[in-house]
Amino acid sequence: MSTIPLEIDGRQVAAEEGETILEAAQRNGIHIPTLCYNKQLKPYGECRLCMVEVTKGNRTRIVASCAYPAEENIVVKTNTEKIAKIRKMIIELLWPSLSALAKDYGVTESRFHSDHTDCNLCGMCVRYCSEVKKLNAVYFKGRGINREIAVVPDLANECIYCRDCFTLCSGGWIVDKCDNAYTSLSK
């Protein structure tokens, strides 16, 4: 199998056919922060934390590394000033859920009023349920700023209660959602 040579943060690395920039970086021990990425699932591109600068020829773009395929001879920078600015903004917007990352980036407070729930809509639960379990017990409801995670009303029929999504959920939101649904069911 042929490999794809590219440069990440000044290092020459070899990506495998079909790999994304993020995967190539991870295999080579280069850390890129992520929130909505999970190796069992298809790239989704929600959180934008994984954005990096990619230079191809004389054109530089900022792309989501979890979705961008590794290409021959591109030059990737994972932590430039521009990138740090983007990540800081995401941290502030999702405040306070990314507290660990906030420390790395020196963010101590958010300038925004946080009126979102503990769910950051990474979709891990929804995607895991449908892509891995081939079930659809959890789904997205609404659009725009009203988008939210919902569980199907007769959860008992859809959900096999494997609880796998519980461990994937960073905010613990899905646990509440499901437990509430079960509690109301058993009533």
Binding site: G45, R48, L93, F112, I145
Partner: protein, 634 residues
């Protein structure tokens, strides 16, 4: 009609139809676009049928239902050909008079003609009416010539001859080349060169390939795609056919909003008729080329107009954008090479193939060729669909075609590009309208919405309005767009209610910049345009709201109050009658006078502005004052 099996069959059919048509013969056309239908233009058509019968004119006069004439605001529109006598605001009861006067006695029905607001003169001919005079109608013009439900009308004006020409006289490469040479750019938003897109799809290795018409017009108030599909569906089909032939696709989709029933109906009929004639299906015109088209009805969310979202919807999944670092031209529908263009782009294709790239290039500016259709709405005298050559100035559109600002008010700005476009101020009215100039001005062409705003429009409120729309219409998938819009909206709500803080403008700017680079799809990347452009051109209005808690345009309810100027009030009491909360009461003009005047009880006033609107022009006694200065007065 029998199936056509060759190029000459098509030519013969066209000759056959035209032999029985006399271009000098009188033809009454009744607009049957959505706008005029809403004013019951079908009844007008029925009345014409009866009246013609009565006068035994049925055999000498033709009667035709056509697509949208564009001047919908003045509908229903009746145009009598070949003279192009244009009657506006026609009613069923006017029909006997029109037949009696115009058809029998060859006289005009003056009161139905366009009246020049300045001189009061009546204008009889469509092409002399300022609204039409300054347009350049290459695409919309055919709407008047065809009944969208009759393929023979389209064939009569040369329809499908571009398709036949391509099949028998050109190869796919030369079709792509013609579109490239014409420099046709996508009319749906970004203005990407169509020829380049076609080339990419054509050269993509995978099979099969697909072509798609994007008719998911989501801008509120914009309806150019709808009118084209409703009024001349065959031109869109023929364009799609040419694209398919050029890139080697055999399957096409037309993605239409569910909310456009007439467009769906007319397109369905068009597809069926094209099938019956052998212009769609297998072995088209005996050329060996196969092509078929399916209509997909979309649920009509604003975001589904985004190309990757639209494709996921056709695949039967929730229409949501996905990362497309590999172009949809290479990996689109079902991961196969897909060429997607909007309705207007496709509708341009047959004309380019028929008349050549040179003709197309002769219209427009250096990098934006051809014409563009806009939906001109807002505070202008003439609203409707206008088709203009690229490069025309905004001033010409607003003042010559649009006839200037309503009620003689002052122009303030025009929003181009729909909700995610930007505003353009007075000082930039002379820029030529083309893709690059609008971009430079901080707005965009978008699909062609154009909303004119007058001096009584608050620019912060405008930004708030569009941001609110986008916050609810984005899909909500990615953080920059969803959370960015959520916070922008919160900040704008604060500013317009008098709770703005120092630093808000800078924070909005920072958010906007972030969204532009970090959002997943084009919707999110452009969602901050209304905020960015209003800050750029009207920063002082933001500052007035934040620092002085004042809305200069007198729009933001929380920052204004209504009062009655005692000296101007003529005591007519109209305002009191119209006040929904009975907040207006009578007082004596002065201690000595017996004259009555009116006053507003601020406690009960809900700031609906009714009094402001109804106070007669000769008095203009109701005034808007900043809240604070009022408080100082009490």
């Amino acid at each position: 009609m029998p199936k056509l099996n060759s190029y000459s069959d098509l030519r013969k059919l066209q000759e056959f139809i035209n032999a029985r048509r006399d271009p000098s013969r009188t033809c009454i056309t009744v607009c049957s676009g959505t706008g005029c239908l809403a004013y019951r233009s079908q009844d007008i058509y029925g009345a014409f049928e009866r009246e013609l019968e009565k006068h035994e004119l049925r055999h000498v006069v033709d009667l035709r239902k056509t697509g949208c004439y564009g001047f919908c605001e003045r509908g229903p529109i009746v145009v009598i050909l070949p003279e192009k006598i244009c009657y506006l605001g026609t009613k069923e009861k006017d029909v006997p008079e029109i037949v009696e006067q115009t058809l029998v006695k060859k006289k005009l029905v003056e009161r139905l003609l366009y009246k020049d607001p300045a001189t009061g003169d009546r204008i009889a001919h469509m092409d002399d009416i300022p609204f039409y005079k300054h347009q350049h109608r290459t695409i919309l013009a055919s709407n008047a010539l065809v009944d969208p439900k009759k393929i023979e009308d389209y064939i009569a004006i040369g329809g499908y001859s571009a398709a036949a020409k391509a099949l028998f006289e050109m190869n796919p490469d030369s079709v792509v080349k013609e579109i490239r040479d014409a420099n046709l750019r996508g009319r749906g938003g970004g203005g990407f060169p169509a020829g380049r897109k076609w080339d990419t799809t054509k050269n993509a290795p995978e099979e099969p390939k697909y072509v798609i018409v994007n008719a998911d017009e989501g801008d509120p108030g914009a309806y150019m795609d709808r009118s084209l599909l409703e009024g001349n569906p065959h031109s869109v089909l023929e364009g799609l056919f040419l694209g398919a032939y050029a890139i080697g696709s055999h399957e096409g989709f037309i993605y239409v909003r569910q909310e456009y029933p007439l467009a769906v109906e007319n397109t369905e009929i068009a597809i069926r008729q094209a099938h019956e004639l052998g212009l769609l299906g297998e072995n088209i015109l005996g050329s060996g080329f196969d092509f078929d088209v399916t209509i997909h009805r979309g649920a009509g969310a604003f975001v589904s107009g985004e190309s990757s979202a639209l494709m996921t919807a056709i695949e039967g999944k929730v229409g949501e954008p996905r990362s497309k670092y590999i172009h949809t031209a290479v990996k689109g529908l079902w991961d196969k090479p897909t060429c997607l263009n909007n309705v207007e782009t496709w509708a341009n294709v047959p004309a380019i193939i028929n008349r050549g790239a040179g003709w197309f290039r002769s219209i427009g500016t250096e990098n934006s060729k051809g014409t563009k259709i806009f939906s001109l709405v807002g505070k202008v005298n003439n609203t409707g669909l206008v088709e203009v050559p690229m490069g025309i100035t905004l001033r010409k559109i607003v003042f010559d075609i649009g006839g200037g600002i309503l009620k003689g008010k002052k122009f303030k700005a025009v929003q181009t590009g729909g909700p995610s476009g930007g505003v353009i101020p007075e000082s930039m009215l002379d820029i030529p309208v083309d893709f690059d100039e609008l971009d430079k001005a901080g707005s965009m062409m978008g699909s062609g919405g154009m909303i004119v705003m007058d001096e009584e429009t608050c620019m912060v409120d405008t930004a708030r309005y569009y941001t609110d729309f986008l916050a609810h219409e984005s899909c909500g998938k990615c953080v920059p767009c969803r959370e960015g819009l959520r916070q922008m909206l919160r900040i704008l709500n604060n500013i317009t209610t008098g709770n703005g803080r120092e630093g808000d403008i800078e924070l909005l700017e920072e958010l906007a910049e972030f969204m532009q680079v970090a959002a997943l799809c084009a919707l999110g990347k452009t969602a901050a345009n209304p905020v960015m452009s209003t800050i750029r051109h009207f920063r002082s209005e933001y500052e007035a709201h934040i620092r002085e808690k004042r809305c200069p345009a007198g729009v933001c309810k929380d920052l204004i109050s209504y009062a009655i100027d005692k000296n101007s009030c003529i005591g007519c009491g109209t305002c009191a009658k119209n006040c929904p909360t009975n907040a207006i009461y009578e007082i004596r003009a002065s201690a000595v006078s017996k004259d009555r005047v009116f006053a507003i009880d601020q406690e009960n006033c809900i700031k609906c502005g009714s009094c402001y609107t109804v106070c007669p022009d000769k008095a203009r006694a109701v005034i808007k004052t900043p809240v604070r200065s009022f408080a100082e007065r009490v």
